[in-house]
């Protein structure tokens, strides 16, 4: 009885501590450039525990600015983890789909971290910067990923450690066909020489940072890792100034979502929800089978069986906007569920991604997406849903 009472109070105290902890985090987790964003007219939303701009002027306008010219995003809700030590390369190879020894200095790689059962903990990019690696896990995944990496280093006796430095960095993304011209005005580094997925230290707008040729929009684009956070506001302002002639716009998370969806890029919180493997998420291209990694045996088994659902892109033929959790049907029979959907600002039609049984995802085949009991016809396509040439043709 006494034990039970202690037990009960223990959990109440624990909950209280968690509550304070969570509240403290919420209070902290505003971007360091929140005030600037406010003066730029941002409307804010809560995303993975962060109060971030959902939009400034209009999602459509922002979206089209990135497709046609250039936009700047604050993505400091994304995480930063340094992986250091003589075994850093080995630790990354063990815990991701990539053999890190193949990723040379000043190169970065998109990959995923798996549980033992082969499902994705998080998709991420890691950057090889001299003798260490910076990993960029998703918003809110920083603690889970850091702990996982440190646990695995310990279990496998690898001399490497992961340090969560998310609060020390602001991440800015500059994306669109004019992103290179905009940034070039602010740095002596010849940005042209940074190849796709290249990364390096640079001085930009008078601030030392990491610049990488990466992004989440499918356009020419770059991302900056800036520390300490207080330096970010000045950089943001200078980029806005440098991009003025190109009509640069600050971009919120609303357009970030529509931009990535038009390219068929995964959003971890949507597409990995409920536990999905990289095979199901159609990330085969990113699986390096020539090395050992956690979850590999399960992936091999799944691959051999072959009957798993696969992430599938669709364009609506009928009018309607597919949303998350809409059922996907074929001749009235359920064949899958939408994980992400929106109205495409480029195409002006509904677009969606969802997991579909392999028998029903042949290119050009017609499926029905159930939107409020109405069957909206959609065509299966292969990503990108909006091709690279779109901006030149429209």
């Amino acid at each position: 009885m006494l034990y039970r009472i202690i037990d009960k109070y223990f959990f109440e105290i624990l909950n209280y501590i968690n509550y304070i902890h969570a509240w403290g985090k919420i209070m902290e987790k505003r971007s360091p450039i929140f005030n600037l964003q406010k003066t730029l007219g941002a409307r804010f939303t809560e995303f993975a525990g962060f109060e971030m701009p959902i939009q400034y002027s209009s999602i459509k306008e922002e979206h089209l600015a990135v497709r046609r010219s250039v936009g700047i995003f604050d993505v400091s809700h994304m995480s930063n983890v340094w992986i250091t030590g003589p075994g850093a390369e080995k630790l990354i190879s063990l815990t991701t789909l990539e053999d890190a020894s193949k990723i040379g200095n000043n190169k970065s790689q998109y990959t995923a971290i798996l549980r033992k059962d082969g499902t994705v903990i998080d998709d991420t990019i890691f950057m090889h910067l001299d003798d260490k690696y910076m990993m960029i896990p998703n918003a809110g995944a920083d603690e889970v990923v850091t702990k996982w990496l440190n646990d695995k280093a310990k279990e496998h006796k690898i001399a490497a450690s992961a340090e969560n430095v998310s609060n020390d960095y602001v991440i800015l993304a500059i994306q669109g066909p004019k992103s290179r011209d905009t940034l070039q005005k602010l740095t002596k580094t010849d940005i042209k020489t940074i190849g796709f997925f290249g990364c390096q230290y640079a001085n930009l707008a008078g601030v030392d940072c990491i610049i990488s040729h990466t992004g989440y929009t499918g356009e020419l684009g770059y991302e900056l890792q800036i520390t300490p956070p207080k330096k970010a506001e000045g950089v943001f302002k200078k980029i806005l100034e440098a991009g003025k002639d190109y009509g640069i716009k600050p971009i919120g998370l609303g357009a970030r979502d529509t931009l990535r969806l038009e390219k068929g890029f995964i959003l971890a919180g949507n597409e990995f929800k409920g536990g999905r493997t990289p095979l199901e998420a159609v990330m085969s291209y990113f699986i390096n089978w020539d090395h050992e990694f956690i979850g590999k045996d399960k992936l091999l088994k799944q691959k051999e069986k072959g009957d798993y659902e696969r992430l599938t892109s669709m364009i609506c033929i009928d009018k309607g906007v597919p949303r998350q959790n809409c059922e996907i049907k074929k001749d009235g029979k359920k064949i899958g569920v939408v994980t992400s959907g929106t109205m495409s600002p480029c195409l002006n039609t509904g677009i969606a991604m969802g997991y579909v049984h392999p028998d029903y995802r042949e290119k050009e085949s017609i499926v029905e997406i159930m939107i409020r009991d109405k069957a909206v016809k959609a065509k299966v396509v292969r990503p990108p849903i909006v091709p690279k040439e779109w901006a030149n043709q429209n």
């Binding site: 999602i59 906007v321 929106t342 109205m343």
Partner: protein, 126 residues
């Protein structure tokens, strides 16, 4: 952000406007509502002839990121819908009180009119 409130209309606290003309009434969403929703990309309209009760869901208005139900401010029969919205839903953003109207209702219970908000009362809640 725009917040125009027209003096010749009645309102609801769920941001619909209603323009009463004899036995009939036109319904739409307010300037405040369109400005909150931004970029309207899709409107689902009801069938003409449908009988509706005050508070029923009559339309769906979708922006890029949101789905919003529109409720009947008054009971009656739907006698007309704004077909233009099917091709150009953005006219709600451009002209919420005129070209962007949603439906027209033949009022069945005129006593409900007194429940609607006057322009000044609506101004207070936005």
């Amino acid at each position: 952000m725009s917040n125009e409130v027209k003096s010749d209309l009645k309102y609801t606290d769920s941001h619909e406007w209603i323009k009463i003309n004899g036995n009939n009434a036109k319904v739409g969403i307010t300037d405040h509502a369109q400005s909150e929703l931004t970029d309207i990309v899709f409107v689902e309209l009801p069938e003409i002839g449908k009988e509706i009760k005050k508070g029923d869901e009559i339309c769906i208005v979708e922006s890029v990121k949101s789905v919003t139900e529109i409720y009947a401010p008054i009971s009656g029969k739907i006698i007309n819908v704004n077909k233009k919205l099917e091709e150009t839903p953005e006219i709600i953003n451009e002209s919420p009180y005129d070209d962007g109207w949603l439906i027209e209702i033949e009022i069945s219970n005129k006593s409900e009119i007194s429940d609607l908000l006057a322009p000044d009362s609506y101004k207070k809640i936005i």
